[in-house]
């Protein structure tokens, strides 16, 4: 119920903005960056590298070369209609969204491919949704954003990795937030580390390199390519029901749901039996 109220509240605040933008070309919506900009970033202004840009952005230059190729027009069209209102027509960023210069293909592919961008509603943290664009469109968008320059991590190619290394690395680097079970967990201020139950290997690898939202990034110096492959492989193993060898996973939320089941299923069944047995049979 609280969720519903909050949604209504958000909607109420966002609807006027949407109305203002209806006249604008295409389904442009007001968009806030998924991550809340760091205090430092807000003081230095929105056009500088915000929280959503990546560590690879250290080499950021102001390259503005126009792309060439058959898809050039398509990517630009999509960008202008769905992204430019927040990120600026040349990806320079605005009050509403961070700069995409130096964001890198991995970041664009991750945000758009997981449906987190374009934002539907202004929210603290963009939730995962079905992607709005087709894979081809996403590729075109990625190329277009890449043309803003600044480098940034490329879309990783994921090979099959070592399962044991993947498990160890996952536990060391990911489990604290995403839970050792991959079920995700709450952070603070309403942010969450999302569940990994729908993450594809490429998306896992992209998230590791990019560090979307509040997540720290893990560049090559911290996790090498084989290690990323291993983690991505283990997440796939974790997603599957194969690990729930013991039966119903109960959401993999640990002792809380186990305790609930113990009381609401186990003890209720036992007490009902005691009631049946302990009452006098009227014969």
């Amino acid at each position: 119920m609280r969720v519903g109220q909050r949604r209504r509240y958000l909607r109420a605040s966002v609807i006027p903005m949407i109305l203002c933008l209806v006249a604008a070309p295409g389904p442009v919506l007001p968009v806030a960056a998924a991550p809340v900009p760091t205090p430092g970033a807000t003081t230095t202004g929105p056009a500088t590298t915000g929280a959503a840009t990546t560590p690879g952005a250290t080499t950021a230059g102001a390259a503005t070369a126009r792309p060439v190729g058959p898809d050039a027009g398509r990517g630009e069209r999509l960008y202008l209609s769905s992204c430019a209102s927040c990120h600026g027509p040349a990806g320079q960023g605005s009050q509403r969204g961070p700069s995409l210069v130096g964001a890198g293909p991995a970041a664009v592919d991750f945000y758009v491919g997981t449906g987190r961008m374009p934002l539907v509603l202004e929210a603290d943290q963009a939730p995962r949704r079905a992607p709005v664009f087709s894979p081809d469109d996403i590729r075109a968008l990625v190329r277009h954003v890449e043309s803003f320059g600044g480098g940034g991590p490329p879309i990783p190619e994921v090979a099959s990795g070592d399962l044991r290394d993947g498990r160890e690395l996952f536990q060391a680097n990911c489990a604290a937030c995403h839970s050792a079970t991959g079920a995700g967990a709450v952070l603070t201020n309403g942010w969450v580390a999302p569940s990994l139950d729908r993450a594809t290997p490429v998306q896992v690898a992209e998230a590791i390199r990019v560090g979307p939202g509040l997540m720290p990034a893990f560049p090559e110096t911290v996790l090498n390519r084989a290690q990323v492959d291993a983690v991505a492989g283990y997440v796939q193993e974790l997603r599957g029901p194969r690990l729930d060898r013991g039966g119903a996973s109960l959401g993999r939320l640990g002792p809380v749901t186990e305790g609930l089941v113990a009381w609401l299923v186990g003890l209720v069944l036992l007490v009902l039996a005691a009631r049946w047995l302990g009452s006098r049979a009227d014969r």
Binding site: R167, A175, A180, A185, E237, G246, S249, P255, G259
Partner: protein, 564 residues
Amino acid sequence: MITRWLVRAVLRSVDGRLRVAPLLRRGLAKVFPDHWAFMLGEIALYSFVTLVLTGVYLTLFFEASTVETTYTGSYAPLDGARTSAAYASTVRLSFDVRAGLLMRQTHHWAALLFVAAIVLHLLRIFFTGAFRRPRGINWVIGVTMLALALFNGFTGYSIPDDLLSGIGLRILYSVAQSIPVVGEWLVFLAFGGEFPSDDAVPRMFVTHVLLVPAALAVLIAAHLGILVRQKHSQFPGPGRTENNVVGSRFWPAYTIRTLALFAWVFAVLFGLGGLAQINPIWIYGPYDPAQATSPAQPDWYIIWGDGALRLFPGVDFDIAGHLVPAPFWPGIVLGGLTFAGLYLWPLLERLAGADRRAHELLDRPREHPVRVGVGVAVLTFFAVLLVAGSDDVIAKLLKVPVLDVLSVLRVVALAAPVPAGLCGYLAARALRANGGRGIGELTRRDLRAAPQQRTGPGERDASAAPAGPLDGADGRVELWRDPDGTWRWRYRSGEVTLTANLAYLSREEAERSATTAYRRAPVVAVEPPVPAVATAARRTARRAAPVGGWLALLAIGTWRRRRR
């Protein structure tokens, strides 16, 4: 006929050595009250039996050591990984020992239900005043068993040396370390040094499989021995007095009934153990002090303590240059107060003016509104703590900020218990004033009218235990001699007919028993009544031919061994 002959043969053979017949006859005739609330303790008992049986199986495969070893087995993500022997053997037990996972999960579910049943049993005892004289001693034993159950649950959760339980153990260590003056020494002695120590797992293992279960077994024996010696208490009702117990006899009715519950406890536990995954330590991974998983909770019966740790604000005290860290208050003081309160409640009630007489008739909860009020308030407080211990899971499911949940719960934990207790008090008072009605039928007028109809403690005692009907004065005792020469009696009053549980060898014996049970009922000698119950029982015996067959086999076996 054959059954009878067989039973007599076996009995003679045993009786000739131990003279058990008189004792056995009395034991078989022990009367159990027919009320489901009296079976909650049995649920705990049978859970304990499950724990022992599955636990013994687990010890055959578990290796209580933190020595580093290599897991090799069918769980691919860990195959070849270096982990502690305790962790590796638990994974092996879950994946490579056939039926091992079933036993492990059943053991864990049984632990959760063991404590849950104890808590429910304790609530029944509390709200019905069954802890009053002469049962204070069993109350103390019961509370001790609860404490031991919590402790043993925690050590059992900790010994697999997985990431989740390691974090829990880390918290326990920190809480114990927070005790002023002795805390550091206490944890260093218990763990053999700084956390995480190699001694912790073997030491916890010994307490988990030997010391605490042995203590529990002794206490259970004492609990039951005292129960048999003191006989059951019972709710007031027709024919029930402070000097008797009304219900079913142990054999055959109650035996079959309690065996049914026993089997059902096994059914539920094995069902849960097979179908619902619990504590998947292979997913959590081995413990490493630098690694974490989130959400991190202990099992439900410890969560309230974790909840208190979450709610209590970070207030450190400085005493002459020494530190009393914040976890001391919610961890040690609250836990200590909880159990001190439980232990001392019978005493507190007596100090507050309750009588010191022995009580065999229970209170209905409503007859003691203050007790209901205190109970509801305390339960509310602990329920809030339980919720607080799950705050991150709740925040995740409700999609609200966790610190907001925490702030709300801080307020609720302080604000809710007193009004809740007051509601309990008022409801109980109104119910008491309105006699037989249930809680659903209460109206606002009842609540307002209750104080006028209030009866003082002295008056209440007088009205709750009116001398007349409860001593059997409104009925009569009928005494007769059965054709086999034994004496029996029964109590009749209106619709109620209650037969004595035993056949007596002499008239005096029968009369003494009858006048003990019903002090004021006149005793009259009558002709033996038609044994309606006996025919039904005999017919039953014929239906139970398979059991007879089994007994025959058993007897033949004994016979042969004796001949040899």
